[in-house]
């Protein structure tokens, strides 16, 4: 190579390097507009409004029958795979058990790199080595870990950039949710609702990993809401914890939402601790089982609404807050729509948190009416009698979808499902289960198989007698059921809708379904052989639309037959 050509090559290289450097992948502006960037999937729930709705229209009700498998990626570690991938300009980023990050070609499934986070040997997590995904800003990915750290990873090299401790894993704190990036901050919440944690949402500087703010979901002394952790009566019988707030739970294990115009970030808060023995924590127990609206810059509470005061059923409100601009009784409003684990569908005004509507979407008997402010009138069932919905709820953490095109809210529901609840006193001990429950599933015959709460094998021997599942399409403004797609087994799958009015979802049986979002009729299905417990996403590469489904250990990607 001549000197001139060497210089020219060097100049080219430098230019390329310079342009490479300035070409930060995902700016904050892109995140604000993520829901409109149809080719990609930049945020856990598809956009800040968490609608899981894509503008892509290549796959339609007419051609969905031509879907075929394009590629698969197999994870190595068994267990429920609850993760939602991100897709950025042809590259897919995903997490796999226990805390790996994988970058792969979204067109072929071939891997660029794998980052394996080294976990502390002590992980105290209630329900397996779950991780639900990543956040991205610029050229950095963010992952929470089972040992309660937040790690920043370079998108191109797969190398860690920084690692910050979020909580004490030895006391049961963990991070299983996908973080949410807002402006220059990475926001996470902590799991550990079964271990007597004191939950919080915390924001970290995206560049340095330094904590920027922290909002405790259990208020401390002198904070508003502390009076909802009431003192024990002097002759309390049985056991009552005079400092219950210190172990009050309020975990946050599913990603929140954000409204840029209001600069409010919304987070669903988990159950109170102990989960089931409510008598030892008198009061409403704020902000457990609530949604909290926080100032995104400071973490200060703007408003809250509590779905289940003084919860005795483990009705975590960890559902994804879905933000929807709808017409409420003739007036356009900024709403939040929410199908809660407690079996009710809610419409709230997300500017100020006003309760507008509460309506059961499955059978409910723990309450019967709401007052004007949305406080439920609770109807505690007599000892030994069943409560609907049962312990896992009418729905749970799996993502619903809102289609602005149909105006419908879609949710995976567990129907005809009840538990006979019972509390038992439990004293807090660090790292020990703090459930305080003696619950029995409602089964038609003593000793009959009960519905597996967390995961299942390939044989359904509990049958429809224990519970069954359905996708429900609800009018987002009224909660009225527009259609119902029944399933024999229950479903923990998330839901995706598209502008072509195709709804994608899975279920425990292993089927991946495409359903007409307007009518609820089946368009196409395929049996993937193992439970689907994640939310499908869709994206486009080189002009072709793809849709994902995770079944068991397999990430399956579908597109139209050519």
């Amino acid at each position: 190579m001549t000197r001139r050509s060497t210089a020219a090559a060097l100049a080219l290289l430098l230019t390329a390097a310079a342009s490479y450097r300035v070409q930060a992948q995902v700016t904050y502006d892109r995140l604000v507009n993520a829901a409109r960037e149809s080719r990609n999937w930049l945020i856990y729930s598809g956009g800040y409004f968490s609608n899981r709705y894509s503008p892509l229209t290549q796959i339609t009700p007419a051609n969905a029958k031509n879907l075929e498998l394009k590629w698969m990626y197999q994870a190595a570690v068994a267990g429920a795979w609850q993760m939602t991938p991100l897709v950025v300009d042809g590259v897919m980023y995903l997490t796999q058990r226990p805390n790996d990050v994988v970058a792969l070609d979204a067109k072929s499934g071939r891997v660029f790199w794998i980052y394996r986070y080294q976990l502390d040997p002590t992980q105290i997590v209630c329900c397996g080595a779950n991780n639900r995904g990543l956040a991205i800003l610029g050229d950095t990915l963010y992952m929470g870990t089972l040992d309660a750290h937040l790690v920043a990873i370079d998108t191109r090299s797969g190398r860690p950039v920084w690692n910050t401790r979020v909580g004490d894993n030895k006391a049961g704190y963990s991070v299983t949710l996908a973080p949410l990036v807002v402006k220059d901050k990475v926001i996470v919440g902590v799991g550990g609702g079964e271990y007597g944690i004191r939950g919080y949402v915390a924001a970290y500087d995206a560049k340095s990993g330094r904590e920027a703010w922290r909002f405790y979901t259990i208020p401390g002394p002198d904070e508003a809401g502390f009076d909802t952790w009431k003192a024990c009566p002097p002759d309390a019988k049985p056991y009552c914890d005079s400092e219950a707030w210190k172990h009050g739970g309020g975990s946050v294990w599913v990603t929140g939402s954000y409204d840029p115009a209001l600069n409010q970030t919304y987070w669903g808060v988990g159950n109170a601790g102990p989960d089931w023995n409510a008598d030892q924590r008198p009061g409403d127990n704020l902000y457990t089982d609530s949604v909290v609206a926080l100032d995104a810059d400071t973490g200060r509470l703007k408003w809250h609404y509590q779905f289940t005061p003084h919860d005795r059923y483990d009705y975590d409100s960890v559902q994804v807050p879905v933000l929807a601009d709808i017409t409420w009784r003739g007036t356009p409003i900024k709403a939040m729509v929410w199908a809660n684990r407690n079996g009710n569908f809610y419409v709230l005004d997300r500017e100020i948190g006003r309760f507008l509507l509460g309506k059961p979407f499955v059978k409910v008997n723990w309450m019967d009416t709401f007052d004007e402010r949305g406080r439920p009138h609770q109807t505690v069932q007599p000892a030994g009698q069943p409560t609907w919905p049962g312990n896992q709820g009418g729905t749970n953490w799996y993502s619903p979808s809102f289609s602005p095109h149909t105006g419908l809210f879609y949710v995976s529901a567990w129907e005809n499902y009840a538990t006979i609840f019972g509390g038992t006193p439990v004293e807090y001990q660090e790292g020990r289960n703090f459930g305080g429950g003696q619950n029995r599933p409602l089964v038609p015959v003593p000793g009959a198989p009960s519905l597996p709460g967390l995961r299942r094998g390939p044989i359904n021997n509990w049958t429809e007698a224990a519970a069954s599942g359905a996708v429900l399409a609800l009018d987002a403004a009224t909660g009225e059921q527009k259609w119902r797609y029944p399933m024999t087994d229950v479903t923990d799958s998330g839901i995706l809708t598209t502008a072509a009015d195709v709804l994608f979802t899975g279920g425990r049986e292993g089927y991946f379904h495409a359903i007409d979002a307007k009518s609820g009729s089946l368009l196409w299905k395929t049996n993937l052989g193992a439970q689907i417990v994640s939310g499908p996403i869709t994206y486009e590469v080189d002009g072709k639309q793809y849709v994902t489904a995770i079944s068991g250990l397999s990430l399956c990607v579908f597109g139209l037959r050519e």
């Binding site: 509990w462 429809e464 024999t488």
Partner: protein, 262 residues
């Protein structure tokens, strides 16, 4: 369930470690008496507080795992059980539990006896006499199978003693429908061409159902192909109160309890 070659020897080893006359007579059965009632009771309290979140009150809430069956995927001996409880199982939902030794002993004792703590008011008779009644006067093998003998039309009873409590077995003989598991409810399917299939479900999902029919054939049906699909709630099994005396019923229950599938 087939006998596990390691299981038998391990249970034998366990029995030798804690010898008792009953264990020596029948090494294939872990005798409940080898665990102190206090340990079992203590273990049940710890189980309720620490284990039900995942495993459920009945021990069957994790798919493919039935703690009441006495057979464990990752443990054969009590020491194995203690190790799994203490260390967890990497990469699964089974976490490590910080139990002290007496708690571990209690939980192990409870797991080993989960299925028999609900003995209810059932009176236990003589298992050998019960087998004779099962094969003879009861004619139970006309529908049920034990090991390699009997029909497959009704549920296989080879490990029923590990699945059901004494009280439940006795109630089954007296009032069968009251104890019938939903999966065993008789089903009737009518194909589009009018062909009728009677059987019992082995599995079912939204679109299909898998049966064993009354000819002992495995049948998989697509629901959209059916003209009719009915699940009955009455049991085809008769009550045996007229066939057996009270003592004979106790003998049959004792025999059924001895069927551990090993």
């Amino acid at each position: 369930m087939r006998a596990h070659p390691f299981l038998s020897s391990a249970v034998l080893a366990l029995a030798l470690a804690a010898p008792s006359a009953r264990a020596a007579q029948n090494p294939a059965i872990v005798p409940p008496g080898d665990y102190s009632p206090a340990d079992i009771a203590y273990g049940s309290r710890i189980y309720d507080a620490q284990c039900t979140t995942c495993h459920g009150a009945n021990g069957d809430a994790v798919g493919g795992v039935n703690l009441r069956s006495g057979t464990f995927r990752n443990a054969i001996t009590d020491l194995d059980l203690a190790r799994v409880i203490t260390n967890g199982i990497q990469g699964t939902g089974m976490q490590a539990f910080k139990f002290d030794p007496s708690e571990v002993t209690g939980v192990v004792a409870y797991l080993r006896n989960m299925n028999s703590v609900d003995r209810g008011s059932a009176k236990l008779g003589d298992a050998a006499r019960g087998k004779t009644l099962f094969d003879g006067k009861g004619d139970c093998a006309r529908c049920h199978r034990v090991g390699a003998q009997g029909s497959r039309v009704a549920p296989d009873l080879s490990d029923i003693g590990a699945q059901r409590s004494a009280g439940s077995l006795q109630r089954s003989l007296v009032d069968p429908a009251s104890q019938m598991m939903p999966i065993n409810r008789p089903v009737r399917a009518v194909l589009r061409n009018g062909k009728v299939i009677n059987g019992r479900r082995l599995n079912e999902d939204t679109y299909t159902v898998q049966l064993i029919d009354d000819q002992e054939k495995l049948v998989s049906l697509t629901k959209s192909d059916l003209r009719e699909f009915t699940i009955l709630t009455t049991s085809p099994m008769p009550s045996f109160t007229a066939t057996f005396s009270a003592d004979e019923l106790s003998d049959v229950v004792a025999y059924l309890l001895s069927l551990k599938g090993r």
